[in-house]
Point group: C2
Chain length 304, copies 2
């Protein structure tokens, strides 16, 4: 049996960690503000797939107190990834797999630079979930997770992870790393930023013909860049993402919530980094470049 | 002596018309909401160049009551230009010159379609002016006007207009039509829209390094398009416009005021039309295209 660690017990890490723990896996949770509450009261998951409560949670306020783990989920906001240099080492043994369940492009490359021999994978979570109160996770819909191998040599460990997720009723699949990260960017880059820039929701952006067209053009910028980098995403993937979004209930992406609650936005890994990657290949994504600038302006104004 | 008509007695038409009248010219003003007030109380111009009052104003509430004029200034918001089909005819004699003192690209072409034999010119006003109360115009700074001949065969009339302006202490000059319209667009297209899209001011857009860069890129999109259409604007004109703006006091462009006061924005002639002209020449202005979409979304939301 694998030992799991969760760094960042919020809407995402709290959900997937609790699902595994609820299915009988050993899971250790790092908490920050909610530590005292969860230590005492446990974790409550209100879920469209069936709610449950974990009363006895392995909760920690410091990774120094945690055991080494076989699989560690990193579910921090990516603006805090510099903290991993200190947070991760106590959890690592020789073969620990670290799964970055975070949004953006370039995350694994940067963590790999900090820990050159670390086994790394990407976790792409397709889920509508929010932490509504301390120790309370509200899982509204979806919930599947794709895992893309970045630098893990232990195929059996990857397979075991998938099996454990499935046993916990989480739909999990192994996918090609670059394809998975860029496919997620096709949705993330237009919708996260545009809901902030225009202070609106995904459904309203698609209802207006001008922003419908703009969102699609931004998606095609991402797909075109990915294709030029050798990543296999068809142009028609944009229509598919738009249709999926039309089928969703109106939704505020994580960046919109971050902005509304005056938290730092993940501009770097969601925009700056993929734009840099594109430029390295001689490519431009002009409309997403403009969106990056607008977001940087709005964040600076909020902090002014 | 020429007889002048002003259609749209607001911040612009009110200022230039009042300056001419104050210098002794015969000027006839069309007013809408302010008609009763101005008929009774006259026009007050509070100006950085010296304030003055016109007590006896030729004010009209309908062009049907106005005499034919030698020169007519059209100072409506361009969203109302369809009204010119009815407003203009009573003012026209065989040789009337109509000067469109409005922002945007394609204005003269569209009015020429309505009146194929009309003598037309563009008026490019470089002025910070606002109508603060009925019959009160507040002229904060600048004030010069460039006149670009679009289809006027009467060179002497153009020269007379310039002389009359100069006699009225308005710095006026004849300029090449296309160059003048596109040079104005270099400033107008970035700043009008971006102050609305980011709910901010010109100075703050230039203070932030991300939006400084974006504004400059948008300016270069306009210049590049103009160049490809054979209009002579050097790339360095962007730096000049940025420097001018840095030297200005913080300023809300007309579109920002329109949006803030829930008036229709001049999206069509400021964005849609120049973007169409660019596409006709096989050119893209992707960042201004995105700005157009954002403005269309914001206007639709405001009217929702």
């Amino acid at each position: 049996m694998l030992r799991y660690g969760v760094i960042g017990t919020g809407a995402i890490g709290g959900y997937y960690g609790a699902k595994l723990a609820h299915s009988g896996q050993e899971v250790h949770f790092l908490l920050h503000k909610d530590y005292e509450y969860v230590k005492k009261n446990g974790l409550q998951v209100d879920s469209c797939d069936g709610s449950f409560h974990l009363s006895d949670v392995n909760a920690y306020s410091s990774t120094q107190d945690m055991p080494t783990c076989d699989v560690v989920f990193v579910c921090l906001k990516s603006v805090n990834n510099h903290l991993l240099a200190e947070l991760l080492p106590p959890l690592l043994h020789q073969d620990t797999l670290v799964v970055l369940i975070q949004n953006g492009i370039g995350l694994e490359a940067d963590v790999q630079k900090m820990f050159p021999r670390l086994e790394l994978a990407a976790g792409l979570a397709f889920i509508c979930s929010a932490k509504t109160e301390p120790g309370h996770i509200n899982h509204q819909c979806y919930g599947y997770i794709n895992i893309g191998n970045y630098s893990c040599h232990n195929e059996e460990l990857m397979n075991q992870l998938i099996r454990d997720f499935k046993k916990a009723n989480v739909d999990a699949n192994l996918v090609e790393y670059h394809e998975a990260r860029w496919k997620k960017a096709v949705w993330n880059m237009p919708f996260n930023g545009m809901t902030v820039a225009l202070n609106t929701r995904t459904d309203l952006l698609l209802k207006n013909p001008s922003t419908f067209k703009l969102i699609k053009e931004q998606m095609l910028e991402v797909i075109h860049t990915a294709q030029q980098m050798g990543v296999n995403i068809p142009m028609s993937f944009a229509d598919k993402m738009i249709q999926n979004t039309l089928d969703m209930t109106p939704y505020s992406p994580s960046m919109k919530l971050d902005y509304d609650y005056h938290r730092p936005m993940e501009i770097y890994y969601l925009y700056t980094r993929p734009l840099e990657e594109a430029r390295k290949h001689g490519l431009q994504m002009p409309k997403l470049e403009m969106l990056e600038a607008e977001l940087q302006f709005l964040e600076a104004q909020q902090n002014a």
